[in-house]
Protein backbone atom coordinates (compact mmCIF):
# COMPACT_ATOMS: atom_id res chain seq x y z
CA UNK A 1 0.00 0.00 0.00
CA UNK A 2 1.22 3.49 -0.86
CA UNK A 3 0.64 6.48 1.43
CA UNK A 4 1.94 10.02 1.64
CA UNK A 5 2.90 11.46 5.01
CA UNK A 6 3.41 14.97 6.41
CA UNK A 7 4.38 16.15 9.87
CA UNK A 8 2.84 19.33 11.21
CA UNK A 9 4.25 22.10 13.43
CA UNK A 10 6.67 20.85 16.12
CA UNK A 11 6.65 17.32 14.63
CA UNK A 12 7.98 18.76 11.38
CA UNK A 13 11.03 20.12 13.18
CA UNK A 14 11.81 16.63 14.52
CA UNK A 15 10.68 14.35 11.70
CA UNK A 16 11.10 16.34 8.51
CA UNK A 17 9.43 18.85 6.27
CA UNK A 18 7.29 18.22 3.20
CA UNK A 19 5.25 15.26 2.04
CA UNK A 20 7.05 11.93 1.70
CA UNK A 21 5.86 8.85 -0.18
CA UNK A 22 5.94 5.46 1.54
CA UNK A 23 5.50 1.94 0.22
CA UNK A 24 4.18 0.00 3.19
CA UNK A 25 4.58 -3.74 3.96
CA UNK A 26 1.37 -5.76 3.71
CA UNK A 27 0.97 -6.05 7.48
CA UNK A 28 0.77 -2.27 7.94
CA UNK A 29 -2.96 -1.66 7.72
CA UNK A 30 -3.65 0.94 10.37
CA UNK A 31 -2.18 4.10 11.88
CA UNK A 32 -0.54 2.37 14.84
CA UNK A 33 1.19 -0.23 12.68
CA UNK A 34 2.35 2.62 10.47
CA UNK A 35 3.91 4.41 13.46
CA UNK A 36 5.75 1.22 14.44
CA UNK A 37 6.93 0.86 10.84
CA UNK A 38 8.17 4.48 10.70
CA UNK A 39 9.96 4.04 14.03
CA UNK A 40 12.06 1.20 12.57
CA UNK A 41 13.76 3.64 10.17
CA UNK A 42 13.69 6.71 12.47
CA UNK A 43 13.59 6.16 16.24
CA UNK A 44 12.18 9.69 16.71
CA UNK A 45 8.93 8.52 15.07
CA UNK A 46 8.14 6.60 18.28
CA UNK A 47 6.85 9.94 19.61
CA UNK A 48 3.91 9.61 17.19
CA UNK A 49 2.49 6.77 19.32
CA UNK A 50 1.63 9.22 22.13
CA UNK A 51 -2.18 9.42 22.44
CA UNK A 52 -2.19 13.21 22.16
CA UNK A 53 -0.79 13.05 18.60
CA UNK A 54 -3.70 13.60 16.20
CA UNK A 55 -4.06 12.21 12.70
CA UNK A 56 -5.52 13.94 9.65
CA UNK A 57 -6.37 11.44 6.92
CA UNK A 58 -7.38 12.70 3.49
CA UNK A 59 -8.20 16.14 4.93
CA UNK A 60 -10.32 14.82 7.76
CA UNK A 61 -9.42 14.57 11.43
CA UNK A 62 -9.80 10.90 12.34
CA UNK A 63 -9.68 9.02 15.62
CA UNK A 64 -6.81 6.62 16.18
CA UNK A 65 -6.34 3.83 15.53
CA UNK A 66 -7.49 4.54 12.00
CA UNK A 67 -7.52 1.97 9.21
CA UNK A 68 -5.45 2.97 6.16
CA UNK A 69 -6.21 2.59 2.47
CA UNK A 70 -4.24 2.74 -0.73
CA UNK A 71 -3.37 6.32 -1.66
CA UNK A 72 -4.08 7.86 1.76
CA UNK A 73 -2.66 11.30 2.48
CA UNK A 74 -1.75 11.43 6.15
CA UNK A 75 -0.68 14.28 8.43
CA UNK A 76 0.54 13.68 11.97
CA UNK A 77 -0.29 16.60 14.26
CA UNK A 78 0.93 17.70 17.67
CA UNK A 79 -1.90 18.84 19.99
CA UNK A 80 -3.70 21.86 18.58
CA UNK A 81 -2.94 25.21 20.22
CA UNK A 82 -5.11 27.78 18.47
CA UNK A 83 -7.46 30.39 19.85
Amino acid sequence: MHVRIRYMAALRDRLGDGETAHDLPADVTDSEALIAHLTRSDAAAAALAAPEIRLIRNDRIVTRPSALEEGDRLAFCPPFTGG
Binding site: M8, A9, A10, D13, E52, R54, I56, D59, R60, I61, A75, C77, P78, P79, F80, T81, G82, G83
Partner: protein, 156 residues
Protein backbone atom coordinates in the same frame (compact mmCIF):
# COMPACT_ATOMS: atom_id res chain seq x y z
CA UNK B 1 -25.76 34.43 7.78
CA UNK B 2 -26.22 31.99 10.66
CA UNK B 3 -22.68 30.52 10.70
CA UNK B 4 -19.87 32.93 9.86
CA UNK B 5 -16.49 31.15 9.68
CA UNK B 6 -13.31 32.77 8.47
CA UNK B 7 -9.62 31.87 8.64
CA UNK B 8 -7.36 34.47 7.14
CA UNK B 9 -3.99 36.21 7.43
CA UNK B 10 -5.75 39.59 7.30
CA UNK B 11 -5.99 41.56 10.57
CA UNK B 12 -9.30 41.10 12.41
CA UNK B 13 -11.35 44.15 13.38
CA UNK B 14 -13.25 42.99 16.47
CA UNK B 15 -15.16 46.27 16.72
CA UNK B 16 -16.43 46.01 13.16
CA UNK B 17 -17.59 42.44 13.80
CA UNK B 18 -19.42 43.63 16.92
CA UNK B 19 -21.08 46.40 14.91
CA UNK B 20 -22.27 43.84 12.37
CA UNK B 21 -23.63 41.48 15.03
CA UNK B 22 -25.52 43.83 17.34
CA UNK B 23 -28.92 45.32 16.57
CA UNK B 24 -29.34 42.96 13.61
CA UNK B 25 -31.88 40.42 14.74
CA UNK B 26 -35.09 41.71 16.37
CA UNK B 27 -35.61 38.39 18.15
CA UNK B 28 -32.20 38.45 19.82
CA UNK B 29 -31.76 40.04 23.23
CA UNK B 30 -28.18 38.87 23.68
CA UNK B 31 -24.88 39.03 21.81
CA UNK B 32 -21.84 37.60 23.56
CA UNK B 33 -18.28 37.64 22.29
CA UNK B 34 -14.75 36.60 23.07
CA UNK B 35 -11.62 38.18 21.65
CA UNK B 36 -8.27 36.41 21.97
CA UNK B 37 -5.27 38.64 21.42
CA UNK B 38 -1.49 38.29 21.48
CA UNK B 39 -0.19 38.67 25.03
CA UNK B 40 3.27 40.03 25.81
CA UNK B 41 5.02 37.04 27.33
CA UNK B 42 8.71 36.56 28.11
CA UNK B 43 10.81 37.58 25.14
CA UNK B 44 8.03 37.24 22.55
CA UNK B 45 8.61 39.37 19.46
CA UNK B 46 5.78 37.92 17.37
CA UNK B 47 3.28 35.09 17.50
CA UNK B 48 2.79 32.91 14.43
CA UNK B 49 -0.29 30.83 13.82
CA UNK B 50 0.06 27.85 11.51
CA UNK B 51 -2.99 25.87 10.42
CA UNK B 52 -4.14 23.10 8.10
CA UNK B 53 -6.12 24.85 5.38
CA UNK B 54 -9.49 23.29 4.61
CA UNK B 55 -9.47 21.05 7.65
CA UNK B 56 -9.44 24.08 9.94
CA UNK B 57 -12.47 25.67 8.34
CA UNK B 58 -14.35 22.36 8.41
CA UNK B 59 -13.54 21.90 12.11
CA UNK B 60 -14.71 25.43 12.93
CA UNK B 61 -17.87 24.96 10.90
CA UNK B 62 -18.67 21.76 12.75
CA UNK B 63 -18.20 23.45 16.14
CA UNK B 64 -20.34 26.35 15.01
CA UNK B 65 -23.11 24.04 13.86
CA UNK B 66 -23.00 22.13 17.14
CA UNK B 67 -23.37 25.42 19.04
CA UNK B 68 -26.17 26.69 16.78
CA UNK B 69 -28.14 23.51 17.40
CA UNK B 70 -27.47 23.09 21.11
CA UNK B 71 -28.20 26.70 22.10
CA UNK B 72 -30.67 27.63 19.32
CA UNK B 73 -28.46 30.52 18.26
CA UNK B 74 -29.49 32.96 15.56
CA UNK B 75 -25.87 33.57 14.62
CA UNK B 76 -22.47 32.14 15.44
CA UNK B 77 -19.21 33.70 14.32
CA UNK B 78 -15.63 32.42 14.41
CA UNK B 79 -12.93 34.50 12.73
CA UNK B 80 -9.41 33.23 13.31
CA UNK B 81 -6.25 34.85 12.09
CA UNK B 82 -3.21 32.92 10.86
CA UNK B 83 0.36 33.96 10.09
CA UNK B 84 2.50 36.34 12.08
CA UNK B 85 1.14 38.91 14.51
CA UNK B 86 2.41 41.37 17.11
CA UNK B 87 1.48 41.93 20.76
CA UNK B 88 -2.07 43.26 21.10
CA UNK B 89 -3.26 42.03 17.70
CA UNK B 90 -6.42 39.96 17.57
CA UNK B 91 -5.93 36.21 17.09
CA UNK B 92 -9.54 35.13 17.23
CA UNK B 93 -13.06 36.47 17.64
CA UNK B 94 -15.89 34.18 18.68
CA UNK B 95 -19.43 35.52 19.01
CA UNK B 96 -22.98 34.26 19.41
CA UNK B 97 -26.35 35.97 19.08
CA UNK B 98 -29.44 34.48 20.72
CA UNK B 99 -32.82 35.40 22.19
CA UNK B 100 -31.59 35.02 25.79
CA UNK B 101 -28.27 35.62 27.51
CA UNK B 102 -27.50 32.16 28.91
CA UNK B 103 -27.46 30.68 25.40
CA UNK B 104 -25.15 33.38 24.05
CA UNK B 105 -22.76 33.24 27.02
CA UNK B 106 -22.51 29.45 27.12
CA UNK B 107 -22.14 29.13 23.35
CA UNK B 108 -19.16 31.50 23.35
CA UNK B 109 -17.46 29.52 26.15
CA UNK B 110 -18.12 26.30 24.27
CA UNK B 111 -16.79 27.63 20.96
CA UNK B 112 -13.53 29.02 22.30
CA UNK B 113 -12.90 26.04 24.61
CA UNK B 114 -13.50 23.48 21.87
CA UNK B 115 -11.69 25.50 19.20
CA UNK B 116 -8.51 25.34 21.29
CA UNK B 117 -8.30 21.56 21.08
CA UNK B 118 -10.37 20.61 18.02
CA UNK B 119 -9.18 22.89 15.22
CA UNK B 120 -5.74 22.31 13.65
CA UNK B 121 -3.97 25.51 14.63
CA UNK B 122 -0.48 25.66 16.09
CA UNK B 123 1.13 28.62 17.82
CA UNK B 124 4.80 29.43 17.48
CA UNK B 125 6.52 32.15 19.50
CA UNK B 126 9.22 34.13 17.74
CA UNK B 127 11.89 35.69 19.93
CA UNK B 128 15.09 37.58 19.12
CA UNK B 129 16.92 34.25 19.57
CA UNK B 130 14.71 32.01 17.42
CA UNK B 131 11.36 30.36 17.90
CA UNK B 132 9.57 27.76 19.98
CA UNK B 133 6.23 25.98 19.65
CA UNK B 134 3.58 26.67 22.28
CA UNK B 135 2.70 23.52 24.23
CA UNK B 136 -0.88 22.47 24.75
CA UNK B 137 -2.09 23.25 28.28
CA UNK B 138 -3.77 20.63 30.44
CA UNK B 139 -6.38 23.21 31.45
CA UNK B 140 -7.35 23.64 27.78
CA UNK B 141 -7.77 19.89 27.38
CA UNK B 142 -9.90 19.78 30.53
CA UNK B 143 -12.11 22.69 29.41
CA UNK B 144 -12.69 21.06 26.04
CA UNK B 145 -13.42 17.70 27.64
CA UNK B 146 -16.01 19.34 29.91
CA UNK B 147 -18.10 20.33 26.87
CA UNK B 148 -17.56 16.95 25.25
CA UNK B 149 -19.00 15.30 28.36
CA UNK B 150 -21.90 17.76 28.48
CA UNK B 151 -22.86 16.94 24.92
CA UNK B 152 -22.41 13.20 25.45
CA UNK B 153 -24.76 13.37 28.46
CA UNK B 154 -27.33 15.29 26.47
CA UNK B 155 -27.21 12.89 23.56
CA UNK B 156 -27.48 9.86 25.87
Amino acid sequence: MPSDIRVSAEPIDAAALMAALTGQSPDDGAVSSFVGQVRAEGDLVALELEHYPGVTEAALRELSEQAMARWSLSQALIHHRVGRMAVGETIVVVAASAPHRRAALEAVSFLIDRLKTEAPFWKRVHTAQGHYWVEARDSDTAASQYWRDQIAQEDA
